[in-house]
Subunit: 495 residues, 2 copies
């Protein structure tokens, strides 16, 4: 059977991904190396992510603010590990104007005394401001979030997953005690997990990163990791406990209630447009995108089936009445998003465009539906052929329940997939066999030796994704070194 | 009488502005030359502007998308006037990594083959994408909007008014005919006028710009201009009819319904964080910011007056009940924003902080209020002393009307101010006297000769802000040249 996306997931997953992004009109490569153009359908997804996540951040006490795009090199240098981590992927601004040369061609002019770096992340500049704002324990905790674009030069670009410029939110907090800062970092990790599972319908393994994978300058990095349909791991968000590293670098001191001067404890955490890559790879099929209803920009698309102009007016009128009726319903505390496709093109073409875009429910209205008084309803997650007849009454009464059912089914399906591809492994041989012949995550013991990670990365392209936090830690033997291990960790190939 | 902001508007308007921005905690200069930090209170204002304007743009058929931050020099060069207009204020990226030198210091590395420019505006890169997306008349009109940061190197920085980096929206549209594109440019101008007047309570003069003040690359530029309290003009938004200039440069062609290939007609238009400067300078007084209710992040602040701990619990409980009650009310289709100031500080200090921040209505609740059963209500726009006693019942019943009344009064006040400072002038002597000794706008005839503009700019720092569009055009004599004039135009000193 012909499917809308060629190749299929089975045939070539990375190429399927590229073709899907194109077919669903989510994004495109731009003529600027490494930078993507996010098209309206992709940007609507990002707007929904922003608005739903922003509400949660505000409810958790974070305030939005905005900091400069450019960071003086000397700020980046303040935290030694930090600058080392980002030095190899910096966009560097060196001039502030252009002038005409003798031949009329434009030349660089106005050389800056000190180069400016396009922010790869904003710890250093935000901490500089924190050091001015924080004087006393009364100013703590300070919780600031920024929605912004950031820039990390990337050679191997994959739309949404790995681009030089991407959009994200970065939260930065300062606290009076180590305990409070650590609690905040873990709280944000859980907020991300909850968002990914409940809104994006993607099951999460949360845990700590190994030293190798730590954010440059952090004491500990935590992440939410999800399994994609090719069995690879996608890191969907990170939260960092930064200890006093950045406080020391930027001199963030405060007077405690006894009048003593102390260094603040800080955290940072972020999610980005990468989440859109996660939605695609967790749920979609060989016909295109499948969107969890809670994040879908359009919940229901109505397709008027007009094969003869005689019926056009009647069908269109009915579609508009139906839309009006449905738009009075509320979903996720907002009006249900209903769209009528009135474009001047063949119905088949229309239908396929919405299948590829992943709208959860499609309603077709043609002369037969009008005459016999029913709607032809198709749910995207069941494929594209399984049509149901529903009366308008019946549909309007339980469409919200139907959307919620789809949301739950997508989450359950992704959870079952992960369960089927998460293998407990106890020997090195089995481990190598698994990653050479199968797809998925391995749960295995590890002695804690970083050189094992490096070997596995080199030989299998596998890394430790997560050291579980909330599970029972049971000791065992590391299958790679024979050494003692405190707990099983999650290994996978990763994006 | 001591006022919260020193100096007063009368004493030194520019310095009053700086001090107000600081006192209201709207923004700060950052350590990065020309770039500001927008603090939470300022950013909330921007979020409200974004959300209210975005709804209007979407209703007008525009879709949001996102385009690259960096623009290859060769794209900027495609439209000759355009690049000339921006060449002197470009942030130029020349390298993509840093490496350690022999002494351990960081050095530039990875020189780019072609420099990249941080977008000062995005016509060139967006038109490049339009040329790929537009094939047929069926793809037109194409209406795209982007919310983004842009960068124009500025030497004389004024927070919100003139900064190197600022936040804005830029709309870009392509049309099949000249008439349709021109209509779009004017439609957006009117949308901006309506937004400024109805939401920001700032009366607008809309009109066309002279050739001297045209956007680089435009056929015609339209703007909304407002009078600030120092009599100067603030250009609050622009809309450009670009003709086929950018279509030619980027080769945006489409097949018309007869199959003939034609060039598209384009427009662009934008407003920025500058609007916040407009809100400040149009409405505020010597005690700080005054916010029109429709744009205020908080509509009502409740101040518990606790001079003795005995009453604390009762007062706080009452404040929370009051907040809950008020929060069920709806204003501008959203819940009324009510805030209780529970900070651990003196009541007087709390009250002053909200006066300076410009919250429209302040409610004080102390032991006396609790005992006698009334609220002490103060409206920011009336100064800060005029307290009214209102019963809770009375207050809750008409608070929405009271907010709307404040909104209208601020608009009327700004309109009266403008009327009082808009002078019809017929002789050169009077014109020079006016701009040397008084403040305001002059409505005077102009022959159309650009050299007059240059002289006035040099001698009086005055420019033509607006060639009126919707007024009766009546001929007259240019007081500067004695030449013939088609209509009066608006002259002013400007930000």
């Amino acid at each position: 059977m012909k499917r809308a996306i060629t190749p299929t997931r089975q045939e070539n997953f990375p190429e399927w991904y590229q073709q899907l992004v194109k077919a669903a009109e989510l994004a495109e490569h731009s003529p600027v190396r490494g930078c993507m153009v996010i098209k309206p359908w992709g940007y609507m997804l990002w707007e929904n992510i922003q608005s739903l996540l922003d509400k949660r951040l505000k409810a958790a006490g974070h305030q939005n603010a905005y900091f400069p795009l450019l960071i003086p090199l000397k700020y980046l240098e303040k935290e030694a590990t930090h600058v080392e981590g980002f030095a190899k992927e910096c966009g560097v601004v060196t001039h502030h104007r252009l002038k005409k040369g003798e031949g009329g061609q434009l030349m660089l002019d106005g050389k800056l005394e000190e180069p400016l770096i396009i922010r790869p992340t904003s710890e250093t500049i935000i901490m500089e401001m924190f050091s001015k704002w924080i004087k006393s324990y009364r100013d703590l905790p300070l919780r600031i979030n920024q929605w912004a674009n950031v820039f990390r030069w990337e050679m191997r670009v994959r739309l949404f997953l790995r681009t030089a410029e991407f959009l994200w939110q970065e939260g930065h907090t300062a606290h009076a005690t180590k305990e409070e800062a650590l609690k905040e970092a873990l709280h944000m990790l859980n907020l991300y997990k909850d968002f990914a599972e409940n809104i994006l319908a993607i099951p999460i393994i949360e845990g700590e990163k190994t030293e190798n994978e730590r954010f440059p300058g952090a004491i500990s990095t935590y992440s939410i990791e999800a399994m994609m349909q090719d069995g690879k791991a996608l890191q969907m968000g990170t939260s960092h406990f930064l200890g006093q590293n950045f406080s020391k670098a930027s001199n963030i001191t405060f007077q405690d209630s006894a009048g003593k001067l102390d260094l603040a404890w800080t955290t940072s955490w972020g999610v980005s447009t990468r989440l859109i890559g996660g939605i695609i790879m967790a749920h979609s099929d060989d016909d295109g995108l499948i969107l969890p209803p809670r994040i879908a920009p359009v919940h229901i698309v109505i397709i008027p089936l007009v094969h003869h102009l005689t019926f056009k007016e009647g069908i269109y009128n009915y579609c508009h009445k139906l839309k009006e009726k449905l738009a009075t319903l509320s979903y996720m505390n907002c009006p249900l998003e209903v769209h009528i496709d009135e474009r001047d093109m063949r119905s088949g073409e229309k239908i396929w465009s919405w299948i590829k875009k992943g709208v959860p429910i499609r309603v077709e209205v043609g002369p037969r539906e009008l005459e016999k008084g029913y709607l032809t309803v198709t749910k995207r997650h069941r494929g594209h052929k399984e049509r149901e007849k529903q009366s308008e009454e019946q549909f309007a009464c339980n469409v919200i329940d139907q959307l919620e059912e789809i949301q739950q089914k997508l989450f359950q399906k992704a959870k079952c997939f992960r369960m089927a591809h998460l293998r407990e492994i106890n020997t090195k041989e089995e481990f190598y066999q698994f990653f050479k012949k199968e797809r998925g995550f391995a749960s295995a013991h590890w002695s804690g030796d970083p050189s094992i990670e490096e070997t596995l990365q080199k030989e299998l392209n596998v890394s430790i994704r997560s050291i579980p936090m909330n599970r029972e830690r049971r000791g065992g033997t590391c299958p790679f070194s024979g050494g003692k291990s405190n707990c099983r960790v999650i290994f996978a190939k990763a994006y």
